[in-house]
């Protein structure tokens, strides 16, 4: 791909400096108005959520107030309260922070594990690859939900970190497979072969030659994964295996909607969370899709 593009318009004399991969990506996002808006929204939400939550005490927010149960939005509680008399707005802020943190943590951890695993498997190929892929296959058939449930039951402190770890244990395979197939292709390319003849060790080739060439793929996949991962926790919470209420998250807020009374009569508890999830996922997805276009020359806009 790359070579074709260059072959057609790579004139060293005239092109002072062709943009690097990151620059292309950035340009693409800026050009794509929706993606740009999405990115701005994302940054704003994250800044607000992480910023404001610095001033909010999680313990204070989840403090039960018997005399403020189920209040509709009013001056004191901008978004009303839940059945514990707890401020929804505060929960929303902290909840978004927690959900975002999970999304990011899981994405990063699955990313790191998946990339390394896939890289090793794809790079070495042969029997190693065979064995490693069987392991992946095995993980793929594990009943994710059940394991999560077991963990919820037996892990005493169930918080953002332990939750992310469990999720990670089950979500690294996708990216590992993707990276593996790319690494399989990439290592056959002459530049990787050239490195070998130049005396570079396998590890060095993997890390310094092959990996950088997968970077745009990794960025795109991780962004799209981030979108999916933000929604993950809400699903488990819905089934009742998410966080305790003392750790608010978008999922816990959303899962209040399983109570039909809340769903019908107390929109302020779950609608903001639903909207936020939707907005977050849409925004991340938009950015991800723009990144995807940026890395795929054929789909690049202009």
């Amino acid at each position: 791909m790359e070579s074709k593009v260059v072959k057609a318009d790579g004139t060293p004399q005239a092109v002072t400096k062709s943009p690097s991969g990151f620059r292309i990506i950035w340009r693409e996002i800026v050009r794509d108005k929706i993606a740009l808006v999405s990115l701005i929204i994302l940054v704003l939400i994250s800044a607000t959520v992480y910023g404001v939550s610095l001033f909010l005490e999680q313990d204070e927010i989840v403090k039960v107030d018997l005399f403020a149960i189920h209040e509709a939005p009013n001056d004191e509680f901008i978004l009303g309260t839940d059945y514990g008399g707890r401020d929804i707005f505060g929960q929303l802020i902290i909840g978004t922070r927690n959900s975002l943190s999970i999304g990011i943590l899981v994405t990063l951890m699955t990313g790191v594990i998946g990339v390394i695993y896939g890289l090793v498997s794809g790079y070495f190929g042969g029997t190693i690859d065979n064995i490693m892929m069987r392991i992946v296959d095995f993980f793929l058939i594990l009943p994710f939900l059940m394991v999560a449930i077991v963990f919820v039951a037996i892990v005493p402190k169930y918080g953002v970190m332990s939750f992310s770890l469990i999720m990670t244990a089950f979500l690294w395979m996708g990216i590992a497979r993707l990276i593996r197939s790319k690494a399989l292709q990439e290592k056959e390319l002459d530049y990787a072969q050239a490195s070998k003849t130049l005396g570079s060790s396998n590890f060095k080739i993997m890390m310094t030659q092959v990996l950088p060439n997968l970077s745009s793929l990794i960025i795109v996949t991780m962004t799209l994964n981030l979108a999916a991962n933000i929604g993950l926790e809400s699903g488990l919470s819905f089934l009742g295996f998410g966080f305790p209420e003392s750790t608010p998250s978008l999922g816990t807020l959303l899962s209040y909607a399983t109570n039909p009374q809340t769903l019908e009569f107390r929109w302020w508890i779950w609608v903001p969370a639903a909207v936020l999830i939707l907005v977050l996922m849409l925004a991340v997805n938009n950015v991800g899709q723009a990144l995807k276009r940026a890395t795929d020359a054929r789909q690049r806009r202009g």
Partner: protein, 309 residues
Amino acid sequence: MAFLKVEDLKVHFPIRGGLFNRKIGAIKAVDGVSFEIEQGKTYGLVGESGSGKTTTGRAIVGLNDITEGTITYEGEELNKKGKAIDPRRDIQMIFQDPYSSLNPKKRVLDIIAEPLRNYEKLSRKEEKDRVHELLEQVGLSPESILKYPHEFSGGQRQRIGVARAIALKPKLIIADEPVSALDVSVQAQVLNFMQDIQKDLNLTYLFISHDLGIVKHMCDEIGIMYKGRYVESGTKQDIFNNPQHIYTKRLVAAIPDIDPKKRAEKKQFRQEVQTEYEQSYNDYFDNEGLAYGLQSVSDTHSVALPEKG
């Protein structure tokens, strides 16, 4: 003692299948190839696609495992583990595709410095100086050092590849179709340049190509491969003026002539060769369609013919 000696080289790739992914057969990519190269010379390896040229080259630099046979470099057998000095430093490779052989994410500096970093402990400054020196040697301006490969034309890229290959001052370079991805005009540039540095650095080339015109231009000795085996080897003159094997003849006849006036003549010749090829195919190839062992017909010239008698 020959500079590089390849003896009865075999490289087989397993074909896997069956119930437990067992080996059920082998692709005999290289199947008993022997040749010698003298220092400072250019040895050409010619053959049609899939005949095993690349595999031979890769086996010499150590990218492919050898199934059988030996490769001796300056009297030392390659592929023997536990040697004090790594002779591979002396053997480098230039790749066919200048677009894929340079890591698109690396700057020229990093690309060229890679072998230096692996083998020589240089300071930043020394390293940079060496790279500058190498760039100069291959005729690229020093400011290229911070650019990415895609900012160069094909010919320039191939020069970067060469700079990298000569960084360790190798003695033997395997050039696997170094110009076939390039335009005619650029081809010339690279070929000229390769000849120049050969003189300057006293390099030995194993020049792999399927373009007979270029091989003729570059090489002193030539080996013709067919389905993993040699069909003929000899000096340039032997091959072009006195081809013995029908396959070689066919190859030579197929080269288009630049002179339009010889068109008819050429066609005539080609047809003759074709007729001969069809008639005497069985004299030159065994039942499996493979070439026989080499028989020397002169000091320099040997041809794959069935043993007489």
